[in-house]
Symmetry: C2
Subunit: 436 residues, 2 copies
C-alpha cells in the first residue's frame, strides 16, 4: 500500500506523552485555582458564524483568522476567548446571574506567519467577571490574587504583577495637551520595553509630540520606587485633570485591596509604564513578568473594560479579566529546562508478571487501583529485561513483580526503581508504600 507521510502542521504543538502529562498538570493548576475562586466553567464552540465572530474585528484580525465556507455558511475559527464570551453574555443575558464569573481554557486559532515560539493553535486560559451595568472595583483587586495563587502554585520562581490604570495614563496625556492623540501615545509608550527610551522619544516625535512633552511622559512612566512611592509621585499631578484623578483614586483603591487579598508587595507593583496599548481596556490593567525570564514578556495580561458586548447588545456589561497564553508559557518554560519529563509517568507502578497466572496479577492490579494507585500490567509475553526496560522508559517509580513464589505466598515483590530496593509484601502493603 502507498503510504502517506505522517506529519503535524507547523505552528501546531503536539507533545510527547511525558510532556503531555506535565502540560495537563500545568493547566490543571490554572483550572483548580479558577474553580477555588468561584468561576463557572464555560465551553463555547471553536467554530462560529463569521458575522458573529468578526462583528468587531479590524483589519489585522481579519488577516490572521481561519475563515471558510461550508455550503452557504461563512464560518470562522475562534481567535480568542473574549469575543465568544461577549456573544455568550449577550445571547444568554436573561439566563445569567451577574456578576457572572467564568473561566474558559480552550484552543484558539491564528493563521500567523510561522516562526519560533508563535503558534497557530494554542490554549488560552481566561477568567472574566462581568457585571450588569456596573461592577465593583474590588473585583479588579481579586484578579491579581488569582494570578498570585496560580504562579505560586506553578512554582516557576519569582514573578511580578505590574498594575496600572488607563484613566491615569490618559489623564496624564491630557495634561500634556495630547488628548487628541491618546491612543497613539499609549501604543508608543507600550513599546518602552521593546524599543527603549530613545525609540519611544523618536516615535513620539514622529506623531507630533514635542520633545519636552515626550521627556515628561517618559519620566512619568519610568517613575521608580515602591508602589507607595510611585503613587506618591503621581499625587504631584493630582487636582488638575478629572480623568487622571479618577485613575489615581482607582489605582490606590486596587492596591489597597490587593494587599488585603494577601498578595505580597514582592509579587506586585504599581507600574505607570503598563499601557496594554492595543487593547480595549478602560481602567485597571495588568501584566505579569517572570523575574528570571523578562525575555518572555508578559505571561498573563488583562484589565478592566467598560463594555464587553456592545457589538451584540445595548446592555452595558462592564468586566475585568485576564488571559494566560498557556501553550506559549509551557513552550518557553520547556526551553529553559523547567520541566522534568523524566519524572512524568502514566503510572505509579507497573505490574510485571513472571508467571502465566494473569488472574493473580489482575487481582493485585484491582487492589492497587482501589487504593488509588495508577497502575497497569505488562501483559506481553517478553523477557524480563524487556519488561524492566519498559518500566524504566515510562518512568514507573515502582515495579510490582509477580512470580509463582509470590503467588504461592499471596504476596508481591515491590521494587523501587529509583533506589533499586526490593521488598516482599502484600498488595495492600504495596499500595501503602507506593502512595506514601
Amino acid at each position: 500500500m502507498e503510504k502517506v507521510k505522517p506529519r503535524t502542521l507547523t505552528g501546531f504543538m503536539e507533545l510527547l506523552p511525558g510532556e503531555q502529562i506535565e502540560f495537563d498538570r500545568f493547566t490543571d493548576v490554572l483550572k483548580q485555582s479558577y474553580i477555588k475562586y468561584g468561576f463557572y466553567p464555560l465551553d463555547t464552540p471553536v467554530l462560529e458564524s463569521s458575522a458573529v465572530l468578526l462583528a468587531k474585528a479590524g483589519g489585522e484580525t481579519e488577516k490572521q483568522i481561519y475563515r471558510f465556507k461550508k455550503g452557504d455558511t461563512d464560518l470562522t475559527m475562534r481567535f480568542d476567548l473574549t469575543v465568544p464570551l461577549a456573544k455568550y453574555a449577550a445571547l444568554h443575558y436573561n439566563e445569567l446571574n451577574f456578576p457572572f464569573k467564568r473561566y474558559q481554557i480552550g484552543k484558539v486559532y491564528r493563521g500567523e506567519r510561522a516562526q519560533k515560539g508563535r503558534f497557530r493553535e494554542f490554549y488560552q486560559a481566561d477568567i472574566d467577571i462581568i457585571g450588569d451595568g456596573e461592577l465593583s472595583i474590588v473585583h479588579d483587586a481579586e484578579i491579581p490574587a488569582v494570578i498570585y495563587d496560580i504562579f505560586s502554585t506553578l512554582g516557576i520562581g519569582g514573578f511580578k504583577i505590574r498594575i496600572n490604570n488607563r484613566k491615569l495614563l490618559s489623564g496624564f496625556f491630557e495634561l500634556q495637551s495630547l488628548s487628541e492623540r491618546i491612543d497613539d501615545v499609549l501604543r508608543t509608550v507600550d513599546k518602552l520595553d521593546k524599543i527603549g527610551r530613545d525609540g519611544v522619544m523618536r516615535e513620539l516625535g514622529e506623531i507630533g509630540v514635542s520633545d519636552e512633552a515626550a521627556a515628561d511622559i517618559i519620566a512619568f512612566v519610568n517613575t521608580e520606587g515602591t508602589s507607595d512611592e510611585r503613587l506618591a509621585a503621581a499625587e504631584k499631578y493630582a487636582g488638575k485633570n478629572e480623568t487622571f484623578d479618577k485613575g489615581l483614586e482607582e489605582l490606590k483603591t486596587v492596591v489597597g485591596y490587593v494587599r488585603l487579598f494577601g498578595v505580597p508587595d514582592d509579587n506586585f507593583t504599581v507600574d505607570f509604564a503598563i499601557a496594554r496599548g492595543l487593547d480595549y481596556y478602560t481602567g485597571t490593567v495588568y501584566e505579569t513578568v517572570i523575574t528570571e525570564h523578562p525575555e518572555f514578556g508578559s505571561v498573563c495580561s488583562g484589565g478592566r473594560y467598560d463594555n464587553l458586548a456592545e457589538f451584540y447588545t445595548d446592555k452595558k456589561l462592564p468586566g475585568v479579566g485576564i488571559s494566560i497564553g498557556v501553550t506559549r508559557l509551557f513552550s518557553v518554560l520547556k526551553e529553559t529546562g523547567f520541566f522534568d519529563f523524566e519524572k512524568a509517568s502514566p503510572v505509579d507502578a507497573l505490574i510485571i508478571p513472571m508467571t502465566q497466572n494473569m488472574g493473580y496479577c489482575i487481582s493485585v492490579m484491582k487492589t492497587l487501583r482501589e487504593k488509588g494507585v495508577r497502575v497497569q500490567t505488562y501483559f506481553e509475553d517478553k523477557k524480563l529485561k524487556k519488561k524492566m526496560t519498559y518500566a524504566n522508559r515510562i518512568n514507573a517509580p515502582y515495579a510490582v513483580i509477580i512470580g509463582d513464589d509470590e503467588i504461592a505466598a499471596g504476596k508481591v515483590a515491590l521494587k523501587n526503581l529509583d533506589t533499586g530496593e526490593q521488598t516482599v509484601c502484600t498488595a495492600v502493603e504495596a499500595a501503602a508504600i507506593i502512595t506514601e
Copy 2:
C-alpha cells in the same frame, strides 16, 4: 451602534453555566478512570493537513468533513480521534513505548445534516492500547473493566457491555458459504436492532443470501441465554472453520479475563449480534447499552483492530480501544432529566457583606479558600434581598453573612440556604461545616 445578532451555530452545543458544571463533572469521571488505568493523556491538533487526515477516508467521510484552504495549505478539521492517533503513532513511533496506552478527550467535527441529537461539534473520549507487532489479548478484557468503572461511577443505572468477536462472525458466514460477502452480511446483521428480523431477512435476500442461510444466521446471532450458554451454543459449530474456531477461542479467553477483572455478569454479556459493521475491527468488538434507555443505542463502542496506522507506516500496530460520544450521551441523559442542574453551583458558599468593611470579608474569603472551600464574595453595593436572590440563583449551598456585629465579634453568620438554619461561628468553624 448597529448590533450583530448574537447566535450559536446549529449543531454546536453551548451549555448554560450550571449545565457546564455537570458536563465537566461528567468528563472528569472519564478522565480520572482513564488515568487510574495507566493511560497517557494525548492532545493532537484539531486541524491537520487534508492529505494526512484523509489518507484512509472514503466517500462518506469526505462529504461530512470541514475542509478548507488557508493560502496554499489544504486543511481538515479532525472528524474522529482515531486517525490523529494513527498519525501520531506512526510519526512518533521511535519515541513511544509499546504497548502505548493513551486517552484523548477532545472535540471532533462532522458537517452532518442538522437534526435533533446530531452534533456537528462534539466531544469524543477515546482510549486505545497499541502494540508493536503484537498485543496481548488480556488488554481486550481490560477495556470492559474501564467501561464498567466509568458507567458505575457515573451512576446512570443499569448498563450492559455486549461483547462479540468478528472472527467468530466471519467464520460463521464462511460456514454458510458466504465468504465473498462477509462485509455486506456483517453490515446487514448489524441492523438487527434497527430494522428487526424481517428487515434483515429481506436485506440478506437482496444481497443474494438464501432464505435458509439467512434464517441460520439470524438464529445464530439471536442465540439467547447467559454468556456461558451462548458460548456453549457456539461450540456446536466448532471444528469446521479455522476463523470461527479462533474467534470462539478469543471470545472465551476474553470472557474469562473480564470476570477476573471483576466485571459482574450483570454488566456484560456475550452477544453474537454485535458486528460493528462499518468499522475496521478484526477481533473483539464491544457495544454498551443503558438498560433503561435502549433507545440511546450503543453509548460506548469499540474493538480490536490489526493495524492502526497502515496508511502511514509499514510497522504493524495492532490495538484495541473504545470511544464514548460524550456530547451525545450528555445530551440524551439531559433529556431524561438525569442531571440536577439546581444543585450545580460554582461555589460552596457566597459571602454576603452587610458592611463597608470589605477587608474583613476578604480575610474570611481567604481563610475559607485555604480550607478548600470554593467561595466568592458579592461585592456589589445592593440591597440584602438582591444579594440573597443571587445566592439562590447560583445555587450556593451556604451564605456567609458578615455585618458589623460579626466583625466586632470576629465571627460570621453562616446560613444553610437549603434548611434556612443560621449559626454564628468563626471562619474556620464555618469552613468545617461547609466542607463537611
